[in-house]
């Protein structure tokens, strides 16, 4: 690659990071195919619910740690207006399928091997999760994962669910 092209790529990258989705801004909509179905799932279909969009990959160690804990989170809020959409970023879908076969989850797992949705969200690290309110606005962003983060998430989700109830 020539120096000019390379530097253009850097500029593009800088521009992309400047466009990162921050709390308070609407979440970019997407339509992605789940691992276990053929028809795509849209983020906008979940308007009116609190949604946790989690970007993960099977090669990312903290992501592997997070999946079973997110499954507990899903079970804990099963009766509420809450959904988890996990966007998988493995280049080879087979790697993700193998991991999901070993560690099954009941929430929706979507495929994005090209990573264009991750780029639209302006991901800063792996994993990254975005907590989206009933109006489709990003309220919290988490980069990286450790088990203690689950408690913070539980509080944030409960607060957003309660907020929506007052408004309606």
């Amino acid at each position: 690659m020539s120096t000019r092209l390379r530097c253009a790529a850097i500029l593009l990258w800088v521009a992309a990071t400047a466009l990162a989705v921050e709390p308070g801004t609407p979440a970019p909509d997407f339509a992605l195919r789940p691992f276990d179905a053929t028809s795509p799932v849209r983020l906008s279909d979940y308007r009116g619910k609190v949604v946790l969009v989690d970007f993960w990959a099977s090669w990312c160690a903290p992501c592997r740690q997070s999946l079973p804990l997110y499954e507990q989170l899903r079970a804990g809020f099963a009766a509420e207006d809450f959904a988890i959409l996990a966007v998988n970023l493995d280049e080879d879908a087979a790697d993700a399928r193998a991991f999901l076969a070993q560690h099954p989850v009941k929430y929706i797992t979507l495929q994005n091997p090209q990573g264009d949705i991750a780029r639209a969200f302006g991901l800063k690290g792996m994993p990254s999760s975005y907590l989206i309110d009933r109006d489709g606005v990003v309220r919290e962003r988490h980069v990286g994962f450790e088990p203690a983060d689950i408690d913070t998430l539980k509080r944030e989700i409960a607060a957003l669910i309660a907020q929506g109830r007052h408004a309606s």
Binding site: A61, R64, Q65, P68, L69, D92, G144, E146, P147
Partner: protein, 394 residues
Amino acid sequence: MSASKRPSPSLSLLLAASAALVGNRSARADEAAPPLQSVGYRFHVYDEDAFPDRPVIGSPQRYHVDSQQLALSARAGERETLTLNAVHEVMSGSSPWYLVPGPDRRPIQVLSGATIRDHRNAIDVALTHDAGGNDTTTLDVSYSQERDYHAAAIGAQRSVPLSSALTLGFGGSLSHDRLRPTDAILYGRIERAEKNTWSTFGSLSLVLSKYAVVESGLQLTLQSGYLSDPYKLVTVADQQIADTRPDRRGEAAWLVRYRLAATARASLHADARLAANSWGQHSVTLELGWYQELADGWRLIPGVRYYAQDRARFYAPFFDHADGRYFSSDYRLGAFGALSASLDLRKRFGHWELSAGAERYHAATRYALGGADLADPATVSYSRLFAGLDYHFD
């Protein structure tokens, strides 16, 4: 990750003891990660080639070392990992004593008559704190014990990401070594001696692409104290005197390491090193490795290594005149080079991993950096076999 695996009671006990040692930071009850990360055992057989010519005195059989390694890596807090590495070695054989000029001035080896039988025990404990985002700090304490040699060392190193692509590494260590040579009075060896080694390094690693990463680093080492070999003699003007080296040595090494994910199932490792020290030695090291993943959990890792050094200023097989202050005929200070090839085969069965491999190290004066006039007959080639079993908890 599997939350169902539990360490055995004895391992739990050992882990609890080590956690208490470092002050366990309120391990959470709901933490899904298991505390133990891996346990590994290795057995190595190291065998040096015998002398080709029957030596003047002593047996032609050289060093043979059987080594056992036991390593344990455990989570010791929410962000801490504790690594224990224990080594037990049994050494036997005879080692080169000194050289004398032959009729054609070709050096002839004299070996110490006695066959050495000794063992070494070493333990290394490292605690790594992970501040998240690849920012890690490691503290290291180690101790090595032989009948005639004790070494205690401490070290610290840090890795800090400077940007998403660039990571800085730096650290240092200090080793204090004590020597108590055996049969010192009988052979007129130094009775007790000490040496200190200070070492520091800095490195930068750079993500080049989705498939490649490179690292470059500089290590500086300063040694002071008794740096001679108490068991070696040197022929100076037809007399045998003790191996006599300067009491200081500075060394600099520059390293470059490159990793390439060449295919979806294989990667290339290429390492280069240039080193120079204040005793006038220079060396070049090149290493290549190929990590090939095969079907059914098998992995094959062939590797080659090239090493070449020139001689120290005060090295010669023997000295005709006693001019100068320092004299050594230790082949490690002479000019030589070595080519080695290794093969490592691994098989993973769920959480278990079995490994076995071999290395052949062929050293010769003709591979020396800048060539050499006289071949040191002590220049040694060796073979190494190893086997191991690891258990990974993740």
